[in-house]
């Protein structure tokens, strides 16, 4: 299976690991991620305004690129996934935005939300299958108690993201189980860490990160995993400091025995 891949700015920079482990794991699991050419930054925040067109165009370009290749579009970064998925929904369902965006872009054939946007985790769950992953795990992460930190962007708004139950998600827990570790379910796993405001409102972000990490620790998690570079940064920077945070792809790569390759 071959997917169009949208890495996003952070994965080319501060979150290189997230990207590298994802690619290595994909190879081990037998699917291919083909980076789309000339992708542009998604903007990091989905422009909520119904009259915002320009800020949605970079996403539409990426989506259209995948459509032209006839591939599903895969992302690893939660924020990029969120933005792409929501813009795609607009292009599919909101007449006004679709018309205006197409008028602007003047594509050969108008883009109408045809591309299927998938998060890497969704590929693992729906295309590869967690049972299949379990079979391919060479270093089961036995004995590790891992808390999944979902954050907001993957889950909400639930209707559009259609990723998992937004109030009681299970995909990352199933993922953790597939790697041979024990998932820790804690109530703050879908609460916001305050990543977006961490630049100016440090104290606020600190409060929020602490709440999340204290809750996870309370339920005896040894570590957290996340799919979002911003959450990663924020939890590390503004959290309690005594709970390690990893990208989910790193643990995947480790369990699949391809982590060393990446380190090289």
């Amino acid at each position: 299976m071959k997917y169009s891949y949208y890495p996003g700015c952070t994965l080319k920079n501060k979150a290189k690991d997230l990207d590298a482990y994802a690619r290595a794991s994909a190879k081990a699991l037998g699917f291919e991620m083909e980076e789309i050419e000339d992708w542009q930054c998604c903007g990091g925040v989905y422009p909520l305004g119904s009259d915002e067109i320009a800020t949605k165009l970079s996403s539409v370009r990426a989506l259209n690129d995948a459509k032209e290749k006839g591939q599903d579009l895969i992302t690893v970064c939660s924020a990029c996934h969120h933005v792409l998925k929501r813009v795609n929904d607009d292009m599919k369902n909101v007449d006004d935005i679709r018309t205006r965006a197409n008028n602007y872009l003047k594509l050969d054939t108008p883009y109408e939300g045809e591309t299927n946007v998938l998060h890497y985790l969704e590929v693992l769950r729906d295309e590869v299958g967690f049972d299949e992953i379990k079979k391919k795990v060479v270093n089961p992460l036995k004995g590790k108690k891992i808390g999944a930190y979902y954050g907001c962007l993957l889950l909400r708004p639930g209707k559009i993201m259609a990723f998992d139950n937004p109030e009681n998600p299970t995909i990352m827990e199933d993922f953790i189980r597939a790697l041979g570790a024990e998932p820790v379910v804690y109530p703050y796993r879908n609460e916001c860490c305050g990543g977006y405001i961490s630049l100016k409102e440090k104290e606020m972000a600190q409060n929020m990160c602490e709440k999340i990490m204290d809750s996870a620790k309370g339920f005896e998690a040894d570590m957290l995993i996340t799919a979002c570079p911003l959450c990663m940064y924020n939890l590390k920077k503004n959290g309690t400091g005594d709970l390690p945070v990893y990208y989910f792809t790193e643990l995947l790569a480790e369990a699949l025995g391809v982590k060393e390759e990446v380190a090289k």
Partner: protein
């Protein structure tokens, strides 16, 4: 800050238009405020956004701290039983401010001192998108 929105009803209409939210659907249950992780930092609380828009008191909303404290985490959007989506309203108000007033919450000059080694690009671009025109 002496600048005011000429016709307040117009500004309210703009907010409704940008957000696509009908504030009249609100039944004042307060679930948004019960949900909001930034509640304590806000001067105008999420459930009050609706009333401000309804009353056309956009100036107060524009001046509020809440505008910049909202995390865009969509928790209120997800849980609102009436499809009112206070998060969308506040986002629209924020856009109105940065667009029409040229009032950037964050200027380019301020940024370097806020950065550290690990700051991801994502945070920078999102800050730009959220806080300035």
């Amino acid at each position: 800050m002496a600048y005011t929105y000429g016709n307040t009803q117009n500004a309210a209409e703009r907010i409704k238009e940008i957000s696509g939210v009908n504030p009249l659907k609100c039944m004042k249950c307060g679930k948004c405020s019960a949900t909001c992780p930034a509640f304590n930092e806000m001067d105008i609380k999420p459930h009050q956004f609706v009333t401000y828009v309804q009353n056309g008191d956009i100036e107060a909303l524009a001046q509020s701290k809440s505008l910049w404290k909202c995390l865009s985490c969509f928790a209120c959007v997800e849980r609102c039983p009436r499809d009112v989506k206070p998060g969308k309203l506040i986002d629209a108000a924020r856009q109105l401010v940065v667009r029409e007033r040229g009032q950037n919450y964050l200027t380019a000059d301020e940024i370097p001192e806020l950065l550290d080694e690990e700051t991801p690009q994502q945070l920078l671009v999102s800050a730009f998108r959220r806080y300035r025109r």
